[in-house]
């Protein structure tokens, strides 16, 4: 692509900060010129973009690096829903489905370090309360954010409470033997501390080096790994006794680079997690899904990877206190955990374990007389179709939405 772009500034909005000066001499590029270029690009790879946007339900971020090969500069292009800008190319934006979102263009120079300098500026824009919409995790949790995160007593308390609850849902056998656990998205080791207090050993995985440095300073007991869960966990099969993750998995639902595909990243993550867990182990993720679609996506990918289990919601009626835990079991319902349950009496996670028990298959008599299928002249009817769709939805399949056309008969001319 010949980007004939030389001049000036991501001129965003009159009220918003006009531009973010990255260099003293920023690569110049007008938004008006860039947008048509971007749109042209999108028309060749429209599918990809459309997918991201649809997936986000227009409430998310779509940022990616765009290279201008002539000047060998990179640009970070982010699409934010909350920024209202009216670039001159509005009509073409509308044509490509960008009408509801704003566009924010930042010049970059080929490095993550650059974007590190941009992110604080983005944060000051206060575009969203959800951190995952602001920047990729490794950039959002920079040194200052990591320190802020760990020094806030409120966050520390919430994290401790969440990890306590997650451990409870993990339902490890109560025989005083320390287990080997995995903490995914361990950050500064707040959740790991809870694990250590309960006497278990752990490995923590996080993508933010700054957060891990804070963890090292705090001398946490577990081992730390710098890694991206969306690339799959590089662990041997069957070695981990359980996994917890506090407020981390929803980060996977965002595509931060053009090579990221949330679905594939979730799949890689759950697939590799399934392999490295031992038989009968559980994984408990506390998640903040942004929308129903995200929740379903996470659940579906987990089930497809072979996990059983489902969602446990604490304080379902409160908007602030509401916490969702994804409780996954590895493989078929293991007898050891069942035994543990019977031995330890009823825990308050019984409701979810019952669901898992229902997954057992009864062996029916082969020769039992088949029920005659009742065939109605009118066909199965709308209720039946709706029921079946609901059933399929619960299984996690992709089911078209109900409409007035659902279960309607075709016209006779067909």
């Amino acid at each position: 692509m010949n980007l004939p772009v030389r001049k000036v500034t991501a001129d965003v909005n009159r009220s918003q900060p006009r531009r973010v000066d990255v260099n003293t001499e920023p690569p110049f590029l007008t938004l008006e010129k860039l947008i048509p270029q971007l749109l042209k690009r999108q028309s060749t790879r429209g599918q990809e973009h459309e997918r991201y946007l649809r997936f986000r339900g227009q409430s998310g971020r779509c940022s990616e690096y765009v290279s201008d090969h002539n000047s060998s500069r990179d640009f970070l292009v982010s699409v934010f829903p909350d920024v209202n800008i009216k670039p001159s190319g509005e009509s073409s934006l509308a044509a490509s489905g960008f009408i509801a979102v704003g566009l924010f263009v930042l010049p970059l120079r080929n490095s993550v370090a650059q974007s590190c300098r941009i992110v604080p500026a983005l944060k000051t824009l206060k575009m969203s309360t959800r951190p995952e919409l602001l920047a990729p995790p490794e950039i959002f949790y920079d040194d200052s954010e990591a320190r802020k995160y760990t020094s806030s007593s409120r966050i520390v308390e919430i994290q401790a409470r969440l990890s306590e609850r997650a451990l409870e849902l993990l339902a490890l056998p109560e025989d005083d033997v320390p287990r080997f656990l995995l903490d995914i998205g361990c950050g500064s080791g707040l959740s790991g501390e809870t694990i250590s207090e309960n006497g278990h050993q752990w490995i923590g995985l996080d993508i933010s080096a700054s957060m891990l440095n804070v963890a090292v300073e705090r001398e946490v007991e577990g081992d730390l790994l710098l890694g991206d869960m969306g690339q799959g966990l590089g662990l041997r099969a069957g070695v981990i006794d359980g996994a917890i993750s506090i407020s981390a998995v929803q980060w996977l639902c965002n595509a931060d680079k053009s090579s990221h595909e949330p679905r594939l990243r979730l799949k890689a993550f759950f697939g590799s997690l399934y392999r490295c867990l031992s038989r009968g182990a559980r994984a408990v993720f506390q998640v903040y899904p942004e929308s129903i679609a995200q929740r379903e996506l996470i659940l579906r990918q987990a089930l497809q990877a072979g996990f059983g289990g489902g969602l446990v919601v604490d304080y379902p009626h409160s908007t602030k206190k509401r916490k969702e835990f994804l409780v996954l079991t590895c493989g078929s319902v293991p007898t050891s955990i069942n035994d543990g349950h019977k031995g330890s009496g009823s825990e308050d996670d019984d409701d979810d374990s019952e669901d898992e028990d229902n997954g057992m298959v009864c062996v029916s008599d082969r020769n039992r007389p088949r029920k005659k299928q009742r065939t109605n002249k009118k066909g199965k009817g709308r209720e039946w179709v709706l029921r079946k769709k609901e059933q399929s939805r619960r299984k996690g399949n992709d089911v078209p939405a109900d409409s007035k056309y659902t279960a309607r008969k075709r016209k006779s001319r067909f």
């Binding site: 692509m1 080096a209 090292v216 710098l226 890694g227 690339q231 799959g232 590089g234 890689a268």
Partner: protein
């Protein structure tokens, strides 16, 4: 990073079939004392790849582990001399600075301040979708799950000139 973690880690690069065990290139090793817990060691013993552990401990300068994997009686017995050694190797030796090397590709994962950097480059990730941006090529469409599987091992070439 302790050796117990090293014993679990394997290389996750695309196309690598046997990424275990990662070789250790130690530059700085520290020892930190940890409470001795025989129950945990007995529990973990079954999961440990003995050969990898012995080799790793050697490369960290600790050679007191026996070459062959001891049988269950030694583990279960009340005599704790062996368990003490195992405890020291597994939990007290920390690789502070150095690198882990993939046995197949030779890719180095640097270890700084005890944290191994396991981040992969984009061309090493297993599951990516290829969308060819070159002029004239329609973006490859993924129609069915089968296509998707086929595409998993194709990786993005970001160096392609954008049309």
């Amino acid at each position: 990073m302790r050796l117990i973690t090293h014993n679990m880690l394997s290389c996750n690069i695309k196309g690598v079939t046997n990424g275990f065990p990662l070789k250790i290139e130690a530059e700085k090793v520290v020892e930190k004392e940890v409470d001795f817990n025989p129950d945990f060691l007995r529990h973990m013993f079954a999961k440990i790849e003995w050969k990898a552990l012995v080799e790793a401990a050697r490369s960290m300068g600790y050679a007191e582990l026996p070459e062959d994997s001891p049988d269950a009686t030694v583990i279960e017995s009340a005599d704790e001399t062996f368990l003490r050694k195992l405890h020291h190797a597994l939990l007290e030796l920390h690789l502070e600075e150095g690198a882990l090397v993939c046995p197949e590709t030779g890719r180095k994962f640097p270890v700084n301040k005890g944290i191994p950097n396991m981040l992969l480059h984009e061309d090493e990730v297993k599951q990516t979708v290829c969308i060819d941006l070159r002029k004239g090529n329609e973006p490859t469409r993924i129609r069915s799950p089968k296509d998707r599987v086929l595409m998993q091992d194709v990786c993005i070439d970001l160096s392609l000139q954008v049309p």
